[in-house]
């Protein structure tokens, strides 16, 4: 800081000859530009503290406002790929079961996958934020409430509900929430009932048998009258042959013929 030093003036002679400054600054200490951070005068420090930058504060502090949900729809290629995969899954497979997934030990997961794979059932882990938009745009709107919290999809081109239920019963951490089998949405009860039904082949065989039953009876129905007649005639002939020996056999075929 420039410290003042009163010049010792030799009377008024110097003052008359020329002029000498009243204040002579004494420059002490280091130069203006130093390698180290030069210590500021306290007044300068105070000035720097007073003239610091004050950021503008919003009228309402951001804490009071509701948190803005960042709807950054960047539409990654990865997200698009996952969506496409989900759509394919819904298109290709006949049976889709949605189960709640609680954390399982990894080896149990692998075992469960193995058993399901034997019955040609695939296990797919899906992200809700990808599945929800896909479902809301497709016809499976009623499956939307199921996709909350962690869940997995068990998909299969064949409908083997009984085996699936058996496997899932052995795994307590996975709970069946619902299923979409052949475009019909079933709840848990519905899936159990569906499992109790006989398999498709058996039921097809049953239906075919039931349907074929009537045509098989048609020929016998049509022939029933003539068959009855032939039977009666045969009986009559036998009775006549037997009645040749005795007479009481005669009114019997007449009675039976009259009753007929």
């Amino acid at each position: 800081a420039p410290a003042a030093k009163m010049a010792a003036r030799s009377g008024g002679a110097a003052w008359r000859r020329g002029w000498l400054p009243a204040l002579q600054f004494v420059r002490r200490g280091s130069k203006a530009v130093t390698r180290h951070w030069k210590a500021m005068h306290f007044q300068r420090q105070k000035l720097m503290a007073v003239t610091e930058y004050l950021a503008p504060r919003p009228a309402v502090p951001p804490r009071c406002l509701a948190p803005r949900k960042e709807t950054l729809e960047e539409d990654d290629g990865y997200v698009r790929l996952l969506r496409r995969q989900v759509e394919e899954v819904f298109r290709d497979n006949r049976m889709i079961a949605i189960c709640q997934y609680n954390s399982m030990p990894d080896e149990d997961v692998v075992l469960m996958r193995h058993y399901l794979r034997k019955h040609n059932i695939e296990v797919k882990f899906v992200l809700n934020e990808i599945v929800r938009p896909v479902l809301s745009q497709s016809k499976y709107k009623n499956l939307l409430p199921l996709f909350v919290a962690r869940n997995i999809l068990l998909v299969s081109p064949e409908t083997k509900a009984k085996e699936m239920l058996r496997v899932l019963k052995g795994v307590p951490q996975i709970n069946l929430l619902g299923a979409c089998i052949d475009d019909t949405i079933l709840s848990r009860q519905g899936v159990e009932n569906f499992a109790k039904l006989p398999s498709l082949e058996a039921s097809q065989g049953q239906t075919a048998g039931a349907l074929a039953l009537l045509p098989s009876q048609t020929s016998s129905l049509l022939q029933r009258g003539s068959a009855h007649l032939t039977a009666l005639l045969d009986q009559h002939i036998r009775r006549l042959q037997a009645g040749e020996t005795g007479s009481p056999a005669e009114p019997a075929p007449a009675q039976s013929l009259g009753a007929h």
Binding site: T34, L47, T51, P56
Partner: protein, 212 residues
Amino acid sequence: AGITFPERPKLKFMDKVPAVPKVRREPRQLRDIRGPSREATDFTQGQYGILALGGGYLHWGHFEMIRLTIGRGMDPKTTFAIWRVPAPSKPVTRKSLGHRMGGGKGPIDRYVTAVKSGRLVVEVGGRCEFEEVKPFLAQVARKLPFPAVPVSRRGLQQMRREEEEKRLNNQNPWTFERVVAANMLGMRKYLSPRDLQLKGRYWGKFFLKHRV
């Protein structure tokens, strides 16, 4: 798009001593470190560069380090680099060790170039992205004697815009330049006459980025 490649893509070799070495020893003149830079503050040919955020002297060792590091990091076929600082020309003296004060000025030890804050040191350009260039530019920037950052054209524009915004939306009614210009409370007794232009953002060779 509109990028002119220089003849040689790599950085030119800078001499330790200028072609005509100076005989007369020059005074120190530390004012060539102080304050903001007036030259080489904007990009010319390249797209990315190293911006000095403080004052200092660059000597031949620094030049070699920059030249070699950038030469190792960039691909001469697709990118180029140019110097934005001149070769060392200012002689700096040094007295031999272990002697007492006095006996005249020491002999010339080396030559340096003065760099003020806000000056670009090197520029890199060509068919490349900032992310590719940033690693080795940051490496160089760390080793310089003054604080430096790698910047792109857009980054520099953004920095300047932010500074301007800060200056405009400062809620503090008392700014350094206002106090100094009006000499409030006799502050100029404790400040240098240069502080009128420096406005409290510079102190010695340091650039105070957070001020105003």
